[in-house]
């Protein structure tokens, strides 16, 4: 395993000069993931915060070949690059052993680009898809997505007097992707950099498509102090809202803090800790919505229990 010290000496593939917000989790996640491999890489990016803020023409933060096409097609775009690579390697025109990574936000992944991601995984293109999951359409000013949690307020599911934010629970995309029976899939969080980088390394080296779903707290959309981004991602894991696990060779494994919680070595924190920390849930603290808090806790418990069963702990 690479140490942080060693990683800090590697040449940056994603560099300074981008215009992401203070406290944004995305550059933290992306930098570390890109440093997980020593192979040359080519990146595709879906439309979203990460794309817009890192390539404002005529500037670019990318020291590696990078392509953005549209919102819903980061997967087929990199699949096209990978197809060209296979074709040209066969003809001896490319020598290097290149790896391919796609980045998309949760809107690009859970919603609009879901079909094209599923297709690319089914076809077996060798690439790692990284979902930078900040649980809403943040680039366009905080609208709900299929990843937005129950009760969270966004501009398209506001906390009203009748409806307390989003009515639905988030789509369990990681398990839907796992249903494709791909070589490797995992959930990660930037607070546990070692766990995340190890998963990225496995995903990048997998002999086929892989999927990494990373929780990426957004101070603007979640309404918290930008200094607390890493803390917020830790809270997601410790409350079991965002369990750390991986799916490898047909088996589920809990990892990091999630494994310790499942094994009884660490306390599972109550959902209130997660909800109270973020302004997007502030309305749920009113007594009239106490049942919603209970529903959210019940759903977290249900999903967590399922995961424990799948992981055979």
């Amino acid at each position: 395993m690479t140490t942080l010290k060693e990683m800090s000496k590697k040449e940056e593939k994603f560099t300074e000069g981008h215009r992401l917000c203070a406290g944004c989790a995305e550059p933290i996640v992306a930098r570390q993931i890109l440093l997980a491999t020593d192979n040359p890489i080519i990146v595709s990016n879906a439309t979203g915060c990460f794309e817009v803020s890192t390539t404002i023409y005529p500037f670019t933060s990318w020291n590696v070949p990078w392509i953005h096409s549209a919102f819903e097609n980061a997967s087929p775009t990199i699949a096209g690059v990978e197809s060209a690579y296979i074709a040209l390697k066969k003809k001896g025109k490319v020598k290097e052993d290149i790896r391919f990574i796609s980045f998309g936000g949760d809107g690009a992944t859970y919603d609009i680009g879901f079909q094209s991601l599923s297709g690319a995984i089914e076809r077996g293109h060798r690439f790692m898809y990284v979902c930078l999951n900040n649980e809403a359409y943040m680039n366009t000013g905080i609208q709900r997505s299929g990843a937005t949690g129950r009760g969270a307020q966004t501009t398209t599911c506001p906390a009203g007097t009748c409806i307390p934010g989003k009515k639905e629970f988030p789509k369990d995309l990681t398990r839907i992707i796992i249903a494709h029976d791909l070589p490797y899939a995992a959930q990660a969080s930037p607070h546990n950099w070692k766990d995340m980088v190890e998963k990225a390394k496995k995903g990048i080296d997998a002999n086929g498509p892989s999927f990494l779903n990373v929780i990426a707290p957004c101070p603007r959309g979640w309404r918290y102090d930008p200094a607390l981004t890493v803390e917020m991602s830790r809270l997601a894991v410790e409350t079991c809202v965002w369990p750390l696990y991986e799916y490898e060779n047909g088996k589920y494994h809990l990892t990091g803090e999630s494994k310790r919680i499942a094994e009884g070595g660490k306390e599972k924190r109550p959902i209130q800790d997660w909800l109270k920390a973020q302004g997007r849930f502030s309305h749920l603290m009113k007594p009239q919505w106490a049942s919603v808090v209970e529903e959210i806790q019940a759903n977290v418990n249900k999903k967590w229990d399922e995961l424990i069963k799948l992981s055979q702990i």
């Binding site: 070949p65 990078w66 392509i67």
Partner: protein, 387 residues
């Protein structure tokens, strides 16, 4: 010269791809294009090409794959029709904006709704502003020839734009015709080695494709695509001339038939042009001074060529196999615009015809000439619709 083959238009296009052996083909099946990808799948399955062939899960993804592959440095071909082209619409703009020389065959088919699988040009007309060069072939020979030439035009360093070669759904895609292919060795020589520009696979010079541009640069990028499109016109012309010298098949961006001394002319694209020549001969035999014009190149639009062919005529009917609801057929305003500065403007009328594969009968085209000659044609007319 190779022997004659009897193929349908789709088979002829697939055959051209087999000879070219593109690096990547990514596609999605849709009637009436499907035979192209079916035939090509067989070439792949039998090892007759070493193309990396991807069956995408949608046309949007097929074009996205083509964009990724082309940006990476591969020679790329694909095919679609109708709803498939409409589904690609968003990314067609991205292909041209990245200046990617992707070649796409389009089997022209009506758009839903109601759903219909037969020929009209609504699909291609919906893509006319996307920065793709658009050629329309009349028959199987032209389907094959246009497919070969499309690669030369797209990859020309003065152009570097994607090219769409269109043929009429079912009429040309599914009709068996004799055609003369080039020898495969000659095709390879003609198309040559692909030279990518700033490919993503060049790791020494990492390139950012598809950055975000604001109001300070976007306009210039669009202007450059327009400039390249303008530059494509002489490139298409010289490509057609060169092709004529190689094969003896002489084409032009707009082709007149018996127009020199004609008083009345009908202009059309695609398979209707062949029917028109038959009708012109018929009426000429009766002593009428009529001619026809086949437009091969719709984008960039050859305004001067069209004006030269049509100015001085007494009457011209522009046949549109598509309609811009609330306006006219899409070719009509182009021809009107081409003739605005002409010295001697003909009376110009528009006929919308053949939507959803409605038959194009010779007696109806004779009727159009008669209406043109007796002055009864209105500015906008419909041929073959029950009203």
């Amino acid at each position: 010269m190779a022997d004659q083959l009897v193929f349908n238009g789709d088979q002829a296009i697939a055959y051209s791809w087999k000879q070219i052996n593109p690096d990547v083909v990514a596609s999605y099946p849709i009637t009436p294009q499907t035979i192209i990808v079916e035939n090509f799948s067989e070439f792949v399955a039998n090892g007759e090409v070493d193309t990396e062939y991807v069956c995408a899960e949608s046309e949007h993804s097929a074009m996205s794959l083509c964009i990724g592959a082309s940006a990476a440095g591969a020679r790329v071909a694909t095919a679609t029709a109708s709803a498939g082209l409409a589904f690609m619409w968003e990314v067609l703009w991205i292909a041209s904006a990245m200046r990617l020389p992707i070649v796409m065959s389009v089997a022209n088919r009506a758009l839903s709704g109601p759903i219909n699988i037969h020929c009209d040009h609504s699909d291609a007309m919906g893509a006319r502003d996307t920065g793709w060069v658009q050629m329309f072939g009349e028959n199987v020979q032209e389907a094959y020839d246009d497919s070969l030439m499309s690669f030369r035009i797209a990859e020309d360093m003065k152009v570097r734009l994607p090219v769409m070669n269109c043929i009429d759904g079912f009429i040309t895609t599914h009709a068996l015709e004799k055609f003369i292919p080039m020898e495969t060795a000659d095709v390879k020589k003609y198309i040559g080695e692909y030279k990518p520009v700033r490919p993503l696979l060049d790791l020494i010079h990492p390139t950012t494709y598809g950055p975000f541009t604001m109001n300070d640069y976007y306009f210039e990028h669009k202007y450059q695509i327009h400039e390249a499109m303008q530059a494509a016109l002489p490139v298409v012309r010289s490509t057609l001339n060169d092709f004529g010298q190689r094969t003896g098949r002489h084409y032009d961006v707009a082709e007149g038939y018996r127009t020199e001394d004609a008083d009345y002319v009908i202009m059309a694209m695609g398979s209707t042009a062949g029917t028109l020549r038959y009708v012109v001969d018929q009426l000429r035999a009766e002593g009428h001074k009529v001619g026809s014009v086949k437009l091969r190149l719709f984008r960039p639009f050859p305004y001067e060529d069209v004006a030269k062919l049509l100015q001085g005529k007494k009457g011209v009917a522009v046949m549109d196999r598509a309609i811009s609801m609330g306006s006219t057929g899409p070719m009509f305003p182009e021809v009107r615009s081409a003739l605005y500065d002409a010295k001697d403007r003909p009376k110009l009328v528009n006929y919308v015809y053949g939507l959803g594969g409605r038959d194009v009968r010779t007696d109806e085209l004779v009727g159009v000439f008669k209406q043109l000659m007796d002055g009864s044609a209105k500015t906008m007319n419909f041929m073959g619709v029950r009203v």
